[in-house]
Each structure stands twice: as C-alpha cells, then as structure tokens.
C-alpha cells in the first residue's frame, strides 16, 4: 500500500501512460486530450460561424468521457491514493522559487501564488491564468496536438511533424520558465 500512496517513479509512470495510449488505440481511437477543446467549441455552437468547428461532435463523445474519467481519476488519486508527502523537488528549485516569492514549493500540485482564490482576486493573478489558458488552447490547435497527441502518440509512431511540434513545446517552455517567469514574479 505504501508503494501506491507514495509518488510513483518515472520508470513506472512513463510505461503506464503508454498503456493509456495503447488501450485507446485498441479501442480504435487515438490518444489526444486537446481535441476536446475543439469539441466543446462545437457543442457551444461555434460551427454556426466557423467551418473549423462544423463537424459531428457526437462522434467525439467517447473523448469527453475520457475527460470525465480523468477528472474522477484526479479526485480518486488525491482523496484515496495519496499520503501527505511533499513533491521531492531539487533543493535548488525550491530556493529559486522562494526567491521569486513562491512559498511551500511542492506541498501542493500547483502554487497557491497562482491558483488560490486570493491570487484570483488580483488582476495580475486572473490575467496569468487567462493568458496561460489562451496560449495552451490556441497553440495546441495551431500545432495540431498537445503533449498526449504529439509528444506521446506522435513520437511513438515516429512522425516528423510531432518531433517539430515537441521541439516547439520546449522552445516555448524554456523561454517562459527561464526568461519570462522571472520577469513576472
């Protein structure tokens, strides 16, 4: 039980993510979480004005069910399968974040400085979440996939476009973390 309650090592977790991809392929579907965002646009009627959203979203219900499962999975994992152990971060990371004003690094999954209700009430806090969401939603559709679609499925099937996209993911991520985040905080 202790093995389940503690954080899982990368060499267990990585192959288990591949199992998710394999199961969906076995069911005749593809692993890609960002397509749900497009489906939701379509459900809300975006197809009336934009042809990109004009498709039969009912064919995508299975993928929305995966999302629903993921939410439930997140709940189960935190409520029943976790102890209160901290994320085992590099001490350098913790010091760096402390200097930027982040307290209790690793005690939660996301920093309170960005996600707590107090952070939300400040214009800056709200803006950061909205901006981040916009970039993720816009970028992932522009690139035709996200981490699951390109990094896992695309690279596993040795596709060149996915390699280019993943290089893009890292260019953006490296610039944000190393140069922009220190300016924001």
């Amino acid at each position: 039980m202790e093995y389940i309650l503690n954080a899982w090592s990368w060499y267990i977790s990585g192959p288990l993510i591949a199992v998710v991809m394999a199961l969906l392929l076995y069911f005749g579907k593809t692993f890609g979480m960002s397509s749900n965002l497009r489906t939701m646009c379509s459900i809300m009627g975006a197809g009336k004005t934009t042809s990109f959203f004009k498709f039969n979203w009912k064919d995508q219900i299975w993928n929305l069910i995966v999302v629903l499962g993921a939410i439930i999975g997140g709940f189960i994992a935190t409520q029943y399968l976790s102890n209160d152990s901290l994320t085992d971060l590099n001490p350098t990371t913790i010091t760096e974040l402390q200097n930027m004003g982040f307290e209790n690094s690793g005690a939660t999954l996301v920093p309170n400085e960005m996600y707590s209700m107090e952070a939300l009430t400040s214009p800056k806090g709200l803006l950061l979440l909205v901006l981040g969401g916009l970039l993720v939603g816009f970028g992932t559709r522009y690139a035709g996939g996200c981490t699951s679609g390109h990094a896992i499925t695309g690279l596993s099937s040795l596709q060149r476009p996915s390699l280019i996209a993943v290089i893009g993911f890292f260019i953006g991520g490296l610039i944000m973390t190393n140069f922009i985040l220190p300016l924001i905080f």
């Binding site: 090592s9 069911f27 999302v67 939410i71 996301v110 970028g139 035709g144 490296l174």
Partner: protein, 137 residues
Amino acid sequence: MKYLKFLLVGIFFGIVLVKSEAVSWYRIYEMFRFQSFHMYGIIGTAIASGILFLQISKRGTIKSLKGADIFVPKKEKGFSRYIIGGTLFGFGWALIGACPGPMYILLGTGVYSMVIVIAAAILGTYIYGAIKDKLPH
C-alpha cells in the same frame, strides 16, 4: 455501457498523472530548468514503451477490439504550424504548468480555479479556428 471502457481509461489516466506528479506545476518548472530528470524519465519511458507497442502491433500480432489493425492517423505535413503553434503552446504550458490532460485532472484534485484556465483554453481554440486561414501552416 459502450462508454464505460473510456471512463475507466480516463480514471486510470488521471490517477497515473497525479501519482507520477506529472500534473505538478513545480515538476514542469523543474523540467524546463533542467533541475530534475523526473519529467524526462516519464516522457522518455512513455515514448519508448509506445514505440515498442506500435512496432509489435505493426507486425499484425496485436489487433484492435474490432479485429482491425492498430492505426495511428498521420499528422499533416508542414513546418510553420508545428514550430509556431508548438512554441505558443510551450509558453502556456510552462506558465500555468498544465497541458490539456492535466488541466482536467487538476480540476478533479480540487484546483477549482482551473475552470478559468479551461474556459480560456476553449476560447483560445475558438480564436485559432476563427483566424486559421490567415496563419502560416
């Protein structure tokens, strides 16, 4: 009933991503600062296992539930969309510390402000759809 298997896969996915800490904002930060091998290990072993699975299934030994060949759709050819779109996605990924899967999973763990991120991501997707013909692909 035909959706039950998808619900179970989703639950499994959510549990794995929480227990692996791949949904942790801090792990994403650490990855982009090259201060930990953890995320690289997860992504690397996921891809290695994925390649192994797809190579074996290519030989026809693994069929889908309906008996068809295991099939991964081909991505369109191109460069601009992948590098520009990918970079913009990377900005967002590193800022909020979550990509589309973890956004939902984190909501399940009780990070309710994630609703704002998800709503913004839907809006971002809509903006792409509205202006896509004007963008280089």
